[in-house]
Each structure stands twice: as structure tokens, then as C-alpha cells.
């Protein structure tokens, strides 16, 4: 393998303070219980250890820091860790299910608000919460938690993951999220992979089938793309006319055919396009500028990628960061994926989650991506046809 002296800077870190949670979500990728923790042979790190490590991460140049779990507020020392870390000077994000936002927690969050908070929600009623998380009362606790967190100047994102039990709540969840405020984002995780790193959830039995997932995507696309698009075109027919004129103009312009000499670090891809050369371990920022410290004290590439690790608490953060690439054992791309041009959600981490190997072939993801691609192509064709028909009408009118 060709090696280059590439500068890796640990800019974005995740501290997984615990993998335990007060909820029992059927599709959770991460959650472990005490029994599984014993089986895995790990232990949660202490207050002092987390704070010391965060200080080393700060010194190493980490600027973006995510505090997550499990449910981080489940730790009795959450406020203590949070306060110490928040004062250091990270761009801080907190992930929580918002069911444990006590007055004590609010006191420390008010003094040191995170820059952003991701609140994971699981349905639009106590009944759905019961089905997904095993706790109906968690719904009202979450509503109250969100009300409290909304008092902070932090950027809020409401997040959810769709499975069979809550898919029908999507519209209600989305309406509720947007009702909180125009500045609040709503983020849906559409692809659910199997649990990672010993997580105890039986994800396969509860996640949507590939067909159901794409049907859901189709509905969302209709609501958020097709309908606003049709409405816009009907209200602004002049846009189509202008576009036609613009296209004609472009055709007459001389298109340069010479590829100029590449600048340093630029490469030419097989299609002849010049792109910036980017060296990575996994095709993303994992291990290059991003990393996760797991609940049991391992440095890994991302929260899903538990295939290899180093030990920051034992060697010091910087040494663990430097050593990480030596542990990486890349696998060739699965045969089935070679030559495929469909954009999919498969990456070493999702392949590891689905198949147990970063080089495995993730059947579910492939099937879903092919269906989603076909749906998208159909949608684009419908939009083009709509433009053509609308355009002809406009020209006939003129």
C-alpha cells in the first residue's frame, strides 16, 4: 500500500459516556445492559478519567465535541462531567432522549448551554413510546424535557428513527417538531442497521423492510419535494420559459475540452473530471479528523465502527490517535458492489454492522438503495415531464 505522510488532525470527537439507557428502544444500535457489559468485559470510565481525557483532546486540537450515549444523563455524574467539559472551549453538541432533564441538569445547561442539542424522539404518543421504548410515560417526560431545553439558546434538532412501530407517527412527529419553532430542525434516520459493538437490540425484527422504507421515502418525497415543486411551477411559470432560453444559450457556448495541468493534490477521475485528492482511511472523516471514545474506553473511527481500536486512557489520547491507523485492516470492496453506480448507504461501518465485516456485502442496504434509486429516477422523470408539459402550455399561450 502506498503510504504518504498525511496530516491527520483530531478535529471532531465523540464521547460515548455510557452505552446504558433508561429506555429500551427496539432498534438502538448501541445500548447494553449490565449483563452485556459484564460479558463484554468492559467498564464505564470514571468522572475524573473522562474530564482528563477531554482535556487531552482539547490540547490535541479537537474543536467539535459530541457528548452522547446511551443516555448520557443517566450517569449520576453527568452534571460534573458536562460542566468541566463545557468550560474548556469545545463547540459542544449534546445528544439526549430528553426524559431525564431534571432541574439540576437544567441549572448546569443554563450556565453552559451546548451549542447544539440533538433530541431523539420515538413517536407522537405514549402508546407509540410504549411500543418502541418500553415506556409510555417517557413520552410526557420527553415533552417536558424539550420544553425545558427550549429555554436554552442552543440550536435544537429533533431526531427520530423509523421502525415498524412508529412509522405511522411520522407526520405527527414532524408537525410537532416544526411547531416548536422555525429554527428547530427535524431529522429522520431512514436506514436502520443492526446493533453494533455488542448492542443488545434485535434490530432486524423491528426495522422496516426495504420496500416499506422506500414507500415511506416516496411519501416524504411527495410531501417535501413533488408537491412544493408542482405548486412553485404553477405559481411561477415564467421560470420554465427562462430555463429554456438559458439552455439554448448554453448550447451555443464553446465548451472547453482541454484538461489543464492539475494543481498539487488534484487528480483526474475515470470520467476525466478534475477533483481534489483526498486521502482517507474509510472514505470519510473517520480516523482522519473524526473519532469516538467508547463507553469502555476505546478510540474508534466512528460510533458504529468497532472493528479496531486503540486505548486512549492507557496510552494518552495523542498516542492513541497516532496509533489508530496502524490498527485499521481495510478489506476490498465486496464483489457485488464493484461497478455499481447507485448511491447507497453502505460504508465500512454499515457493512460491519450488517455483516460483521467491513468488507461484507450488506444485502438489506443494497436492496433498499436499488429500490430508492428506481423511485428517485421515476420521480425525476415525472418532474421533467411536468416541466415539459407546463413549458409547452406556456409556449402555446405565447
Amino acid at each position: 500500500m502506498e503510504t504518504k505522510n498525511v496530516k491527520r488532525v483530531p478535529l471532531n470527537g465523540t464521547l460515548e459516556l455510557t452505552a446504558r439507557c433508561n429506555l429500551r428502544c427496539k432498534m438502538c444500535l448501541i445500548r447494553v445492559d449490565e449483563k452485556r457489559m459484564t460479558e463484554l468485559g468492559g467498564r464505564e470510565r470514571t468522572t475524573k478519567e473522562w474530564i482528563q481525557l477531554a482535556r487531552e483532546m482539547f490540547d490535541a486540537g479537537t474543536i467539535g465535541l459530541l457528548l452522547t450515549g446511551g443516555e448520557p444523563m443517566l450517569r449520576g455524574d453527568f452534571c460534573q462531567i458536562y460542566k468541566a467539559v463545557a468550560q474548556m472551549g469545545f463547540l459542544l453538541t449534546l445528544y439526549t432522549n430528553a426524559t431525564l432533564v431534571t432541574p439540576e441538569v437544567m441549572e448546569v445547561l443554563k450556565a453552559y448551554p451546548p451549542h447544539s442539542i440533538g433530541i431523539t424522539t420515538y413517536g407522537a404518543s405514549p402508546e407509540t413510546y410504549e411500543k418502541v421504548t418500553g415506556s409510555a410515560s417517557a413520552y410526557n417526560k420527553m415533552i417536558e424535557g424539550v420544553r425545558r431545553l427550549r429555554q436554552l439558546p442552543s440550536k435544537l434538532t429533533i431526531r427520530t428513527t423509523l421502525i415498524k412501530d412508529n412509522a405511522n407517527d411520522l407526520r405527527k412527529m414532524s408537525e410537532w417538531a416544526f411547531s416548536i419553532g422555525r429554527d428547530v430542525d427535524f431529522n429522520v434516520s431512514r436506514i436502520v442497521t443492526k446493533a453494533v459493538r455488542g448492542g443488545i437490540a434485535e434490530v432486524e425484527s423491528c426495522r422496516l423492510t426495504a420496500e416499506e422504507n422506500v414507500a415511506m421515502l416516496r411519501e416524504r418525497s411527495k410531501e417535501f419535494i413533488m408537491e412544493p415543486f408542482s405548486r412553485f411551477i404553477k405559481e411561477h411559470p415564467e421560470v420554465i420559459k427562462k430555463e429554456k432560453i438559458k439552455k439554448e444559450k448554453i448550447k451555443k457556448e464553446k465548451i472547453p475540452t482541454t484538461i489543464f495541468k492539475n494543481a498539487d493534490n488534484d487528480i483526474t477521475n475515470p470520467k476525466g473530471q478534475t477533483v481534489k485528492e483526498k486521502l482517507t482511511l474509510y472514505g470519510c472523516e473517520a480516523g482522519m479528523s473524526a473519532y469516538t471514545i467508547t463507553w469502555d474506553g476505546k478510540l474508534i473511527g466512528c460510533q458504529m465502527l468497532g472493528n479496531c481500536w486503540t486505548y486512549p486512557f492507557e496510552t494518552g489520547f495523542m498516542q492513541a490517535w497516532k496509533d489508530y491507523p496502524k490498527q485499521v485492516n481495510l478489506q476490498p470492496m465486496p464483489e457485488q458492489c464493484k461497478g455499481c453506480e447507485i448511491t447507497c448507504s453502505a460504508c465500512p461501518a454499515t457493512r460491519q454492522a450488517e455483516t460483521g465485516s467491513i468488507g461484507g456485502f450488506p444485502e438489506y442496504l443494497c436492496q433498499e438503495s436499488k429500490l430508492a434509486h428506481a423511485m428517485e429516477m421515476k420521480m425525476i422523470a415525472e418532474m421533467q415531464q411536468f416541466i415539459e408539459e407546463k413549458g409547452r402550455l406556456e409556449y402555446e399561450t405565447i
Binding site: G61, I63, M88, G89, A111, P153, K155
Partner: protein, 89 residues
């Protein structure tokens, strides 16, 4: 005048950046990227200093005219005031 407490100047991969912490994020929720001379002024402003002094040290440090330093410093201070980052001492 000086920078309010809770704005932390950091060197990240060779670049000077300021991260607001605490209730400051109500005024500014993001990262401020500073060039070398802005970071120089920022460091002086953490101590509490008046405009004429800033102009003098900037002109000396970068070997520019006092007039140029005056314009640059005023522009920088104006930006900080608009973001509610400065306080009078």
C-alpha cells in the same frame, strides 16, 4: 474595553479560532475564525485596553502606518461590538 469572559481563543490546525462558551452563545453561536493580526488584537483585548494603545501595538507589530492601523483596528472593534463580544472596563 476588553473581550467578555467566556470567549476562548484556540489554535486549531494552525488557525486561530474563538469558541464562545456559557451564556455567550445566546449572542453568538458558532466559531469565529481570526487571521493573524486579528488574533494579535484579540490577545491584547483579553487584558483590557484602549483603542489608541491597540493602534500603536498593531502598527509596531506589522510595521504599518498609524493611519492604516487605526482603520484596521476600528473595523475589527466595530465587528466585535456588533456581535456584543466587547465590554467596557
Amino acid at each position: 474595553m476588553r473581550i467578555k469572559s467566556g470567549y476562548i481563543l484556540r489554535k486549531i490546525a494552525g488557525s486561530d479560532m474563538v469558541v464562545p462558551v456559557g451564556s455567550n452563545i445566546a449572542d453568538f453561536n458558532g466559531i469565529i475564525s481570526l487571521n493573524e493580526s486579528a488574533a494579535f488584537l484579540w490577545r491584547h483585548l483579553t487584558e483590557g485596553v484602549e483603542l489608541p494603545h491597540l493602534v500603536t501595538v498593531l502598527a509596531e507589530e506589522y510595521n504599518i502606518s498609524k493611519e492604516q492601523a487605526q482603520v484596521d483596528t476600528e473595523n475589527f472593534i466595530e465587528g466585535l461590538q456588533q456581535a456584543n463580544i466587547l465590554m467596557e472596563v
